[in-house]
Structures are given as structure tokens and as C-alpha cells.
């Protein structure tokens, strides 16, 4: 069953980009990554799903219900953590969480305590006095206190230290095991790779690719850069899987996807002065996707 179904969703803003013709599905019980550079349309898509903004065309359903028509019903089962958290500043953390819980017809007192303990959040402080990271923690507790069936996270890790990130991920995995579906938006590939089953890649308002993380990993993108002793024939590295090949003087660089041995063999056969092998960053993978499309 699909928890989220997005069909040809388009949002046109006055000047800024918005999104166009976005379609993908999130299955029940999966952790779905939603990845793309800043300004690609991740937040726009999420805001459309939550009916904070309304689509220009296309539609989306959550739990099989139209997001515009049944927004107030759907949100009962959604926990949302925005990328930047803002709350009523003059409230205490405790009061804010109580207010948040009062929207759901459940007793969340125990759950609030549990979550606050895991995230090491001081409930007696005023929101005003909290650091960015601590505000984020309030956001996490606030998003999870009603044990939602669908958790939507918009760049959730910014501001959290590595230890807290770890705890947060553990928490998410636990929720996932209990049956929650998670939509995880991020611009950090490694984060998504760790946690997610499948991933949709968005750039400039369009979905470039929906892939299983396993496939992404199998694809095994590597960024090669090497310095040769003597100048090289341009076609030497023109094999399958090599992209963005650049040769400047004695420096060769490219992105490779596929069986790494074919490249190491190639490299073994020439004399090199230096070699760098790196994980390509997201931008470079995107470039690759674009080139393939064209």
C-alpha cells in the first residue's frame, strides 16, 4: 500500500521556481529519502503534502486521501519536523509540548517524558532561551509525541550534534520498526544512504530519479583524479561508466560508476604520479543524472 502518492504535482510561484510535474510514491513502512540541493523543491513538495500551500495542478494523497480536501484528518497521523523550528517564544518547553499534544485526542504525557529523556531536553526552560540544537530537539519531541503513522522530516539534522543525530536516527528506526512510514528530506547523501530504503532525487523542481538506495550504492560512484607522468591519450579512459572526463595537461579527472576493477586495471597500466579517489558529492551525481538524460 502506498502511504504517499504524488501525481504530477506542480506549484508555480510568482518568481521563484516551485516544482513541476513531481510524481512518486512512498510505500507503507518504508523510509523514503528525498534528496536534492538547496532550493530544488524539497520543502515545496513537503509543504504541498501538508497543505500549507496549495498545488497549481496535480494532486497528492496521503493514506489514500486527498491532501487538500482532508488535510485536517490526515494530519492527525502525521508528525512533521520543519527544517527551521520556530515556536511561541514566551512559552516554556513543557507548555508548548502540552499545547501541541492537546491537538491530538490522546494522552501524550508519558511519551513526552520518554522522548525528552532520550533527546536530553530540559522541559522547564523557556523556548526563548534555547539554542538552535535544543529548539530542534523540541521539534523532534513535538513531531513524535503522538506516535504518528507518517513522519515527515525536512532536513532534520541541522543543528544537532553527532551524538544527538545518532540518537535521533535510532529513534526513527525504532518508530519505523513499529510501523511508521518516514519521508526524510535532506541534502546530505550519506545521511539518506544510511537510513533510507529508497530515494527520490529532485533538482530544479523536477524529479530526476527514484532509486533504491541499494542500487545507488551498487552504482558506486567514485570520483577519480590522477596525475600522470606523461601526457595521456584522451580516449584512454573513455570506457563504460566514465563520466565528466576532463584532461588538463597531466591531470585527469572523471566520475566512475560500475565495477571498480576495470578502472584500477586501467590505472595499473599507466605510470602515475599521484592519485585521489573520493566519494563524489551530491552535486556531481546530479550532474551525472542530467548528462544521462540529455
Amino acid at each position: 500500500m502506498n502511504v504517499i502518492e504524488i501525481n504530477h504535482l506542480t506549484k508555480v510561484y510568482g518568481k521563484s521556481r516551485g516544482i513541476s510535474d513531481v510524481s512518486f510514491q512512498v510505500k507503507e513502512g518504508e523510509i523514503f529519502g528525498f534528496i536534492g540541493p538547496n532550493g530544488a523543491g524539497k520543502s515545496t513538495t513537503i509543504r504541498l503534502l501538508l497543505s500549507l500551500i496549495y498545488p497549481t495542478s496535480g494532486n497528492a494523497t496521503i493514506f489514500g486521501k486527498d491532501v487538500v480536501k482532508y488535510a485536517s484528518e490526515i494530519t492527525k497521523e502525521i508528525g512533521y519536523l520543519p527544517s527551521e523550528v520556530f515556536y511561541y517564544n514566551n512559552m516554556k518547553v513543557k507548555d508548548l509540548l502540552k499545547y501541541s499534544a492537546s491537538f491530538y485526542k490522546k494522552d501524550c504525557t508519558k511519551r513526552i517524558k520518554e522522548l525528552a529523556e532520550i533527546m536530553e531536553l530540559d522541559l522547564t526552560k523557556k523556548i526563548d532561551d534555547l539554542s538552535l540544537g535544543n529548539k530542534k530537539k523540541v521539534g523532534i519531541v513535538q513531531g513524535l509525541l503522538h506516535e504518528p503513522k507518517l513522519i515527515i522530516l525536512d532536513e532534520p539534522t541541522s543543528g544537532l550534534d553527532p551524538l544527538m543525530q545518532q540518537r535521533f536516527f535510532d529513534l526513527l528506526e525504532k518508530e519505523n520498526q513499529k510501523g511508521a512510514t518516514i519521508l526524510f528530506s535532506s541534502h546530505i547523501l550519506s545521511e539518506v544512504q544510511r537510513l533510507c530504503d529508497r530515494v527520490a532525487i529532485i533538482k530544479e523542481g523536477k524529479i530526476v530519479q527514484v532509486e533504491k538506495i541499494r542500487t545507488l550504492k551498487e552504482n558506486n560512484y567514485k570520483k577519480f583524479k590522477l596525475e600522470t607522468i606523461s601526457e595521456l591519450d584522451f580516449n584512454y579512459f573513455k570506457v563504460d561508466g566514465v563520466n565528466q572526463l576532463k584532461i588538463v595537461g597531466k591531470t585527469v579527472s572523471f566520475i566512475f560508476k560500475g565495477n571498480i576493477n576495470t578502472i584500477t586495471e586501467k590505472i595499473a597500466n599507466i605510470e602515475i604520479a599521484n592519485l585521489w579517489v573520493e566519494e563524489p558529492d551530491l552535486e556531481e551525481i546530479f550532474m551525472h543524472f542530467y548528462q544521462r538524460e540529455e
Binding site: S43, R47, L50, S51, L52, I53, Y54, A71, S72, E73, T75, K76, I78, Y80, P82, E84, F86, Y87, Y88, N89, Y99, S100, S102, F103, Y104, Q142
Partner: protein, 265 residues
């Protein structure tokens, strides 16, 4: 209910401050009445030297000024100004609050409809204004009873004083509508002060020129205190327009609010 209480609590402090201020104006004005009525004759002579347009604009009419009711209605002009600013401010602030404080994402991702959100806000605002008006009415009745020199029409006093609530509802509606209409309200007080003073000045011009057409444009003149003192009645066509403005601004606010995109910060 939780949202209503939350809003009520959020506006508790400003409501109390506004209420106290309005009561203070009442007490200040009415405390001057004994001294004023003692020297009424001399005061009148000074006033006669003023151009009639001016005295009319600031709400001074000689025939009624020596009577406590007439004197009160003079003071009431400035209480109306104060009350209008309060109501407009409240309407603007309570509706634009979520976008100004960037808490929209919190509230609108809760299982509530936009209609429920705005209804709670509207009810909380009306409750706050009711509180102010109760304190105001109480202070008026007590002070007028204390300083009165002769009998006056109780009904007239009630009718004038009660019109503050009517005026405030109009400005509450205008404030709410402005808040949903303007994409981003940066400073509540500058917008509300600007608009209220614009209406107030139009009201003064309308009073001084007796221009009937202009009178329709400013809620400040929908209730004419001197007409009430004479006829013990409201002018129904203006009450009707006031009610229409309240309904229209509130309904339009709801319509726009439901369809509005909540933009990110």
C-alpha cells in the same frame, strides 16, 4: 477550545493594558468635569472665538457641553480613537501572528482546519474586546454618577457608551481583513495606527463639514452622539453599514485565509 484559550492567554496582557488605559482616560476626563462645569460660562466665551468648523471637528458643541452627557460624548471621541486602535491592532496581530512569529508551520500542520484556527482567533479577540468594554462601561457609569451636577438620560449614556463595542468590532474586522490581505505584516502597530488615524481624520473632516457622503466612509461617525442625546435612538442606516462591514470583512477574511498559501520563512 485549546487554540481559543491559547490565544486568549497570549493577548491577556495587552488587553489588560488597553482596558486600564481606556478606564484611565474616562477617569481623567470625568474628573475634570466639576471644574469645567463651574467655569462653563467663561469657557464658552473662549470657544465662541474659535471657528465653528474646528469646534465641530474636535467634538465640541456648545449646547450640550455643560451637561454631563454632552461632556462625556466629547470625551468619548478620544476614547473611540483609543478603542479603535486597540481593536485594529488586535485583529491585525492575532491573524498575522503565525506568519510574523513563524509558527505557522507548527499550527497548520496540526489536525485542525484553517476555519477552526481563524474562528478561535476571532472568538478570542471578541472576548478580549468584551472584557475591555465591560470595564469601560463600569467605569463610565460610576464616574458619571459621581461627577454629575444634574439629572441626565441614563439610556442615552448607555447607548453612547455601548457604541464603543460596535466601533471596535468594525475595526477588528478591518484589522483581520488587512492581515489576511497583506502578504506579510512586518509591523502591526504602524499599520494599525496609520489606518485608524486615516479614518479618524476623515471622521473629523466629515463632522466639521457635515458631509453625509464622507460620513459613510468613516466608522467613527456611524454613531452620532448628539443624535442619540436628542432622539435616544441610533441612525439605523449607519448601523446597517457598520454591520455590513463587520460581516463582509470577517467573511472575506475566512475565504482568503482558507485559500492562502503559507509561505516558508
Amino acid at each position: 477550545m485549546n487554540m481559543f484559550l491559547q490565544e486568549l492567554k497570549a493577548y491577556q496582557k495587552p488587553t489588560i493594558i488597553w482596558s486600564i488605559s481606556i478606564v484611565a482616560i474616562v477617569i481623567l476626563f470625568m474628573a475634570l468635569f466639576p471644574a469645567f462645569s463651574r467655569d462653563a460660562d467663561e469657557f464658552m466665551k473662549v470657544l465662541e472665538g474659535f471657528p465653528e468648523e474646528l469646534t465641530r471637528a474636535i467634538g465640541l458643541t456648545f449646547e450640550t457641553l455643560t451637561n454631563v452627557l454632552g461632556y462625556f460624548s466629547y470625551a468619548f471621541l478620544y476614547i473611540k480613537l483609543c478603542g479603535a486602535v486597540q481593536a485594529m491592532n488586535l485583529g491585525l496581530s492575532i491573524v498575522s501572528k503565525e506568519t510574523r512569529n513563524k509558527t505557522a508551520e507548527f499550527l497548520f500542520t496540526k489536525p485542525v482546519t484553517r476555519t477552526q484556527v481563524l474562528t478561535s482567533k476571532l472568538l478570542a479577540a471578541v472576548t478580549s474586546l468584551l472584557f475591555t468594554n465591560l470595564l469601560f462601561l463600569f467605569s463610565v457609569i460610576v464616574t458619571v454618577e459621581i461627577v454629575k451636577t444634574a439629572d441626565y438620560s441614563r439610556q442615552g449614556l448607555w447607548m453612547i457608551a455601548a457604541s464603543l463595542f460596535f466601533l471596535q468590532l468594525i475595526f477588528l474586522g478591518l484589522g483581520m481583513f488587512t492581515a489576511v490581505f497583506i502578504p506579510r505584516v512586518k509591523s502591526v502597530i504602524s499599520v494599525s495606527l496609520g489606518l485608524v488615524f486615516a479614518f479618524f481624520i476623515v471622521g473629523m473632516i466629515s463632522s466639521s463639514t457635515d458631509d453625509e457622503g464622507l460620513r459613510y466612509l468613516t466608522p467613527f461617525n456611524y454613531v452620532n452622539d448628539y443624535y442619540i442625546i436628542e432622539h435616544l435612538n441610533y441612525e439605523m442606516q449607519y448601523i446597517g453599514i457598520g454591520l455590513a462591514i463587520i460581516c463582509l470583512t470577517v467573511i472575506l477574511s475566512f475565504v482568503i485565509y482558507r485559500k492562502k498559501d503559507i509561505h516558508s520563512v
